[in-house]
Structure formats: C-alpha cells, structure tokens
Symmetry: C2
Subunit: 335 residues, 2 copies
DNA sequence: CTGAAAGCGCTTACAG
DNA sequence: CTGAAAGCGCTTACAG
C-alpha cells in the first residue's frame, strides 16, 4: 500500500500534525524531529496525497484549459506557453477539446467544476450567456485567450486584430502595392473575422485607396481546407490584384497552393502575407511573410494573469499584446 | 458557498447516505424520495465534489500524458485522440511537456503520483531505469505511445518503424527509382532512428540494390530545423540520387525547401517521400507523399488500452498499428 | 427503504 | 516544541 502521513508519523514516533508541519515548511518542531521525519519519509518513499490536500485546502493546483481544437497549430503553441508557466508555479493543466460544440463545452465546464480546478482559460471561443452563467456560479478566476467578450467583464489577452490587420496591409502598401486583395475568415466572427476586414479597409483608406468589394473574398473558416480555391475566386473577381492579405496562415498557405496550381509565382507575380506566424509559415515554400501573434507568450501571460488572480483574489486588467511582421519571402516590392 | 451533499440532504429531509445513493444510481430509496432529492439538487445547483469522491474511491478519473513537446504537430494529433476517448469515458487529461529533460520528467512523474492519476501514457519517450522504478512504485497502468521498451514489460501502441520504412522505400523502388537517398534521424535512437534505416536497407537489399553509405545522411533530430541543408549535403555526396526517403515529414519539408533553394524541381527532378503524415504534409507545395502513421487513432487506441487495464486490472497486449502510404505529389515515376 | 457512523488522508486551530 | 481532535465532502458497510 502507498504510505500515508500516518505511516510516516508512526515510523518517526511523532503525531501526524508535526509531519504535516514539516511537510509544509511551517514552524513548530525541533531540528531533531525534523530529521527523524525526513528520514521516515525517505524510507517509506512517502508522497503526499494531493487529493486529500485539495479537499481540505480547497485548492487543487490544477487549471482547466478549453480549446475549440487542441490539435491545431494555433492551440498547441498557446498550450505550450500555458503549460510552461503552470508547471513552474506548481500547477497542472487539464486540456479540453470542445470542438466548438455547445454540448461538449457545457459538459467540460461541469467536469472542471466538479474537479474543482483553481481557474479556467478559454481560448478562441465566444463566451455565450449560458457559459458565462456557469462560470459565474463556479466562482473561479477566468481568463480569455485570443478572444474577448464585449458583454461580460472577463479579462483577456490578445492582439488587437483590427490594428494587426491594419499593420499587415499597410506593410503591403509600403511595398508599393495598391491593388490589394483579402481572403477573410467568416465576417460574422466578431473577434477574428470582421475586425481584420476593418483593419484592411482602414489601411486602404488612410493611404487613399478606395475599398473595392471585388477585392474581398470571405471563407467559412480560418483553416487550410476552408481556403481551397479562394485565391482563384478572388483573382477572377479582380485580376489587377498584386498582393493578398490572408486572415490566417493556413488560409495563406492554401492560397499559395492555389497559386501554385494556377502557375502563378509567389512572390514574383503575386505577394502574399499571412496572419498568426504558425510553424507552417516558416516551412512554406517559399517561407511565408506573416503578421505574427506571439502565441507562446500569450499562453504564458494568460496563465500568469490567471495565477495572479488566484493569489491576490483581485481582478486583473486585460492585455493587448504586441503584434509584429515577420518578413520572409512571399512579399515582393511592387514596382 | 458551493452547496455540499449535506445541504442537499437537509433540503430534501433525508440523510446524506440516501443522497449519495441516488447520486450514484444505487438502489435503496423510494421513487418519492428520489424525486425530492433531485428537486433539491436542482434548486441548489449542487454539483458533487470530485475531489472528495476521489479521496474515498481512490479513483480520480484523470489520466496523465507525457510529451517531449506538447506543441509539435506530432504530439497534438495524438493528444486529440487520447482526449477524445478519455472524454467519452469520463476521464480528464493532464498534459505534461517534459522537453525531454530528465529533471522535468521526474518532477512530472512525482506530480502525477501525488495527484493520484488513474493511469499514465508516455509518448515518444525512452523509458529509462529511473523512470521505470518510479512508475513501478506508483502502481498505476501505463501505456507507451509511438515508442516501446525492450527492457521493461510495458504495453505499447506503435507502427512497426522498420517495416514502415521498408514500405516507403519499396514504394520508391516500385516507381522505378534505384538511386535512393535517405535523410535519417539520429541513429542512436533505437525507436525511430535505427529501425528506419534498417527498413531502408532491407528494401534496397531485397530489390537487389546495394546499400551505399554516400546515399545516407544523418541528422540530429526529426525537426524541420535539424533538416536544414541536409539535402544539399546528401546530393553532394552522391549526385545520382533520384529519390529521397526522409525519416519524418518535417525533415521531408525541410528537404523540399532545400531543393527549392537549389532550384531542383520536386518531383520532376527529385522525388521525396516523408514519414508521419502530419498536417504540413498536405499543406506542402506540392503536397507531400508520405508514409502515414495513424496518429489520431494511435492516441485513441492508447487511451482505450489504458482504460481497459484500469477496468479489468489486467495487463494488455501491445499493438502494432497499420501504416500506409498517402500518395500525393512529390513522388514521380522514374523512367 | 433509510440513517448513524466510520473513514478516505490530509490541515489547522486549540491546548498544553 | 508537540499532540488530540475536528473537519474538508464524500462513500459504504452495518443496523434497523
């Protein structure tokens, strides 16, 4: 049987109270008894039962993380950042793949509640009223990652999507492009959809370029698959386009494949800039120039904020993290 | 305060024992009291405390998963599979990023032990004597995923690496290639390194092609970065090569980038086959032909086996899962 | 059909 | 400096 604190106490000839004190680095014992207890712990190979501790401390040292898709490259970079901080601060991470399904989401929230996690991180997920009600009742700190909520007062960590899109398009303009197309994600998406289109429009406008509907194409998602054939459609609508801003790296890579099929050379005949800076962007051929979100750092920051809230018991401010452009090989100056 | 079973009992005018029975679908109560209790549960919004349950049941309904790198595309597909099964069977998943560090690994094992997880999955990790000692003492079921152990009797789920490599190279030979190079991972790696080289050699041999050292190049890892410049080196050693077998998709994509830089057209001038079937392989330009490991299914199967061991208390047999070739656009018949 | 009580493995006042 | 005891929120014999 796995030894318990009782076994240690017996072996060291002390009460379980003093063993507990020693275990938790409290005071109230002589050096001598401490040594005896340490000895007993080693001899028995005793390891404290975190479940029993959790029951009494009302802290489980575990965090629940919700992802629409745990296996996406986007999620995995964030996860790595969260995990890193959690680990260094003595917490574990339970991952939940919600598949963007309300049913799964609700189920997970219930599980996380029953397991009494110390805090929750939502990533890239819209917080509905239903979800908010649940987390409100759970009464644990929550932080939003790569998403935000207008309706509910939840702290978030994200890039300014409109601004980031603005930066990406401005970059294209600075490179001399005037006929700039955009492959957008779903426009109903108020977090990652519309704001990026708005940033695109604003960049055009500020540089005296009138927005033209024919230069915009809208997909149903941000994935590679949803981008299939989008570049051809865009170019069919307006063949004057010399550069394209894709609302995600997967969409950008999809466009590159599409260009390849059509025999269009990137960047000689067409420049492309992506959004995210996922691993594929460096692996693309040629390597993709992109608007980088600092996903790993966002994960770290999100976890830090959550842990702060936990320690201090106070709310925390949202953070807009800096984006930047990673120049690689898919954008060429337009002469 | 979060309501407890006591609150429910009081509200429904019964003892906590009957509430517990109803909660756990046991027998020993009238329909009437059941209704009253259910009512009370709803009214209070009661949710059982899994920590308290865990303490007494000695089951936490959580699984610990160890990855050398949680953020790799390889890991994330496996994770998704594990998570899927765990979720449907009422378990949660704690992920641990070991970074292939002994220190982190040991720390995680300790944490998982203290948290009394019900089982552990190791992925792509060599089991050393130290680790084995620890898990032996933990006395929980363990399964190995995408790795195996010759020294310790631990069930595993993986592809037959040698056989898979053999299949990949045979495919190239069937396409008419005779001068086939290989970009290998580290040869000291007894799981994913040497066996693939052996499979390569055996395929050559069986087709009457003598192995030539100049056609083999060895990298320090399976990542994109570790593949940098490897193709040029290989081609410098032997310029007769018409096809290359890369020991991972990342290595293959790296080779494709390298080919692109050198102005070598894939597949017209050089055929390339990868290994893994990660997401990048479909996104590559052109899409990469590769030897597929069923990563998602492996994750599912690994979790199923682990849960089986938990339920039955019996050991389980290792599984060699089938590999197959996904034909895309990087291999061309050699005339 | 139902409840009182013991116990899971800890922590923490409280008393000495 | 140290220990007895209560209690965290459950489950499960045991008795009725």
């Amino acid at each position: 049987m796995t030894p318990t604190i009782k076994d240690v106490a017996k072996k060291a000839n002390v009460s379980i109270a003093t063993v507990s004190r020693i275990l938790n680095n409290q005071q109230g014992y002589s050096l001598k008894t401490k040594e005896r207890v340490i000895e007993a712990i080693k001899d028995l190979g005793y390891q404290p039962n975190a479940i029993a501790r959790g029951l009494i401390n009302k802290r489980t040292q575990t965090l629940g993380i919700l992802f629409p898709d745990v296996s996406s490259m986007f999620s995995s970079d964030i996860l790595k950042g969260i995990e890193e901080i959690a680990h260094t601060k003595g917490h574990s991470v339970v991952v939940c793949h919600t598949d963007s399904s309300k049913k799964r989401m609700t189920k997970y929230l219930q599980v996380l509640n029953e397991k009494r996690v110390d805090g929750i991180i939502f990533t890239s997920e819209v917080i509905t009223e239903d979800y908010y009600k649940i987390i409100e009742e759970m009464d644990v700190p929550v932080v939003l990652l790569a998403t935000q909520s207008y309706r509910f007062p939840l702290p978030y960590v994200k890039v300014d999507d409109k601004h980031a899109a603005y930066s990406a398009v401005s970059y294209l303009i600075e490179k001399g492009h005037r006929n700039i197309g955009m492959i957008s994600g779903p426009i109903e998406d108020e977090i990652a959809g519309r704001p990026r289109v708005e940033g695109y429009k604003q960049a055009l406008e500020e540089h005296g370029i009138t927005f033209d509907e024919k230069k915009l194409v809208i997909t149903s998602g941000f994935y590679y698959e949803t981008g299939t054939g989008m570049l051809s459609r865009l170019l069919k609508q307006d063949e004057s386009i010399t550069a394209v801003f894709a609302a995600s790296d997967e969409l950008a890579v999809s466009a590159m494949s599409n260009a390849f099929e059509m025999g269009i050379h990137v960047p000689n005949e067409l420049s492309i800039i992506g959004y995210d800076n996922l691993k594929i962007s460096q692996m693309a051929i040629p390597p993709l120039t992109t608007l980088a979100q600092p996903l790993y750092e966002m994960g770290k920051l999100g976890a830090e904020l959550l842990l702060d809230m936990l320690e201090t018991g106070k709310a925390v401010e949202s953070r807009i993290v800096p984006h930047h452009i990673v120049e690689r090989k898919t954008v060429k100056a337009y002469e």
